[in-house]
């Protein structure tokens, strides 16, 4: 039995049967990482000694007792590095505290193990913006794993992790999950605490599970969700038993198909896989209803104003004083400017500059305020749609994983590929990517994801329908 091939549910069963101990599982996982990860680049680091110390005192009766979880490198785990895949923090920063999601994972018996690669400060859709090293798609290493949680998706797909945490600001969980053929769930904004996550765009960021099965995603979400007195944007609602949605059928569930998500620009192979998945849900008893989300075309523009504005404010904290890279400089302004010039990569600089501009005096109303009003229109589109349907089904990404370097000199082309995922973050609703087959591209089979979007706080519907599809397609 190879530990890294197991799901969370199977690993828990193996512990119960005393097939191996958590320490043995961690050693086997470390061996799999050493053997496979050099070709993938999904991990920035792991610390077996720290994890073994956690394993020594773990309570196997807890919901995630002894389960190792790979952690995106922007989530603080006390005593571990947290570099956000940036030269700004790499090699110099050790997290002094646990994020709330980590505290909750530990309380449920899980063991944080391994720091996963990502686009620097979560800015990117391909992992090509990692400031540390490239990350490759396990299905074709000449292609990107997606991003920004590309490392988390790649390690789950490559079977060098059992499950991982990612974060999603404009699709950063769902898009890499789709490109790597794993399950990725973005919770409703406010469902999961952001305390201890290095912030990119505070009104859009959410942390969620990346796993091999929908049941594993439900088990992880059940643990990390819930109110937090250190994040005032976190919602007070009780956490449903998400795992109880596993196995419920989809009879009578109304699923909407937005015309705008099946329009020009969608790859024919991706369309065929997604439409076939929707037919499966229909055959299981779901009712399919065509609908429209008319403001979709404005989502990318509104997103890149709001996200960059918030990023420019959030990343002001990296000034070479309290943590991070510090350049030699004679005066204070020079110290700031040089430290940030040397510490940040290309895309991060570009977004900070754009964000600073759209917030600057004289331009605030024309860009930032207007984008927030367009955000209201996008949210209303979903409110109206969800008055008629329980879920919305669509592709995650217009194409399968692309080749490294394909969009290299054209940031706008890269932004436009986020068209199907960005609206969910603007509207604050929840979404999941579930693998729905592969398309053959240049001799390789590349995964495609089915996106299901749900009403605010209706993750149960995502899990119910996602699992029903997954079960019938296996």
């Amino acid at each position: 039995m190879n530990v890294a091939d197991l799901t969370i549910a199977q690993l828990r069963e193996a512990y119960r049967a005393k097939a191996f101990t958590p320490a043995e599982a961690l050693r086997a996982l470390a061996e799999a990482i050493d053997r496979k990860d050099p070709a993938i680049g999904g991990y920035l680091s792991y610390d077996l000694d720290l994890a073994l110390a956690d394993a020594a005192k773990v309570d196997l009766s807890l919901p995630l007792g002894g389960v190792p979880i790979a952690i995106k490198d922007l989530i603080n785990v006390e005593g571990h590095p947290c570099s956000c895949a940036s030269r700004m923090l790499a090699g110099t920063y050790t997290a002094p505290y646990d994020a709330t999601v980590i505290r909750k994972l530990r309380a449920a018996g899980a063991i944080p193990f391994g720091r996963t690669n990502m686009d620097e400060f979560a800015m990117g859709s391909s992992n090509e913006n990692s400031g540390i090293k490239p990350c490759h798609n396990p299905h074709d290493t000449s292609r990107v794993p997606g991003g920004s949680s590309g490392g988390s998706a790649a390690v789950v797909a490559a079977r060098t992790a059992i499950a991982a945490l990612g974060t999603d600001t404009g699709g950063s969980i769902r898009q890499p999950a789709s490109h790597c053929g794993v399950v990725g769930l973005k919770p409703t904004y406010g469902r999961v605490s952001r305390f201890g996550l290095v912030a990119f765009a505070s009104s859009l960021d959410q942390c969620g599970p990346m796993t091999r099965t929908v049941a594993d995603a439900a088990a992880l979400l059940e643990v990390i969700a819930g109110p937090c007195d250190r994040d005032s944007t976190c919602l007070p609602d009780d956490v449903p038993r998400f795992t109880e949605a596993i196995g419920r059928d989809v009879k009578g569930l109304k699923i909407g198909l937005p015309a705008e998500y099946f329009a020009a620009g969608l790859d024919a192979g991706v369309r065929e896989r997604v439409e076939s998945a929707i037919r499966v849900l229909e055959s299981l008893g779901a009712e399919i209803i065509p609908l429209s989300l008319p403001n979709t075309e404005h989502a990318v523009a509104a997103y890149y104003v709001i996200a960059t504005a918030e990023a420019s404010a959030n990343l002001a904290r990296f000034d070479g004083v309290r943590y991070g890279h510090r350049a030699e400089a004679a005066d204070l302004i020079d110290l700031y400017k040089k430290s940030r010039a040397e510490g940040f990569g290309d895309e991060v600089k570009r977004r900070i500059i754009l964000g600073t501009y759209v917030l600057s005096s004289g331009y605030y109303d024309a860009y930032y305020l207007r984008a927030q009003k367009v955000r209201t229109l996008i949210r209303r589109d979903f409110d109206e749609a969800f008055a008629k349907v329980d879920l919305i089904a669509s592709p995650v990404s217009p194409t399968p994983a692309f080749r490294r370097g394909e969009h290299h000199s054209d940031p706008l082309a890269m932004y436009l590929a986020d068209i199907y995922t960005i609206s969910a973050n603007l509207a604050g609703i929840c979404g999941i990517s579930v693998p729905c087959g592969t398309v053959p591209v240049e001799g390789k089979d590349l995964p495609v994801g089915l996106q299901l979007l749900g009403k605010p706080m209706a993750e149960t519907d995502l899990i119910r329908a996602g699992h029903a599809y997954e079960a019938s397609s296996r």
């Binding site: 920063y93 002094p96 904004y189 005032s232 110290l335 040089k338 600073t356 009003k373 229109l377 605010p456």
Partner: protein, 91 residues
């Protein structure tokens, strides 16, 4: 938009090559974003928090200790007298 000026406001030093390249890319992105100005948003309220949470308060009690001074300083690039060390700002 003048990339050099905004980069100064954002406290990022740019090389000439970066400034030229960003200028071109930024002009292209802003041209795309221009579409926002053509949308009718009369009477539309801006959305800041998608979940509409207001006035979250708690009892005014110390519920958790913050970082200790040594933990807060542990990642600092330069420390002196248990404080962050900075270049001189006044002559």
């Amino acid at each position: 938009m003048k990339v050099r000026d905004v980069a100064h406001l954002a406290r990022i030093a740019l090389s000439d090559e970066e400034a030229d390249r960003y200028q071109e890319q930024m002009d292209q992105i802003l041209k795309y974003v221009e579409q926002l100005s053509r949308i009718d948003v009369t009477g539309i309220e801006p959305t800041a928090h998608a979940g509409a949470v207001f006035n979250v308060v708690r009892e005014d009690l110390i519920t958790a200790a913050g970082l200790s001074q040594s933990a807060a300083l542990q990642n600092a690039p330069a420390v002196a007298h248990d404080q962050f060390r900075m270049p001189k700002v006044v002559e």
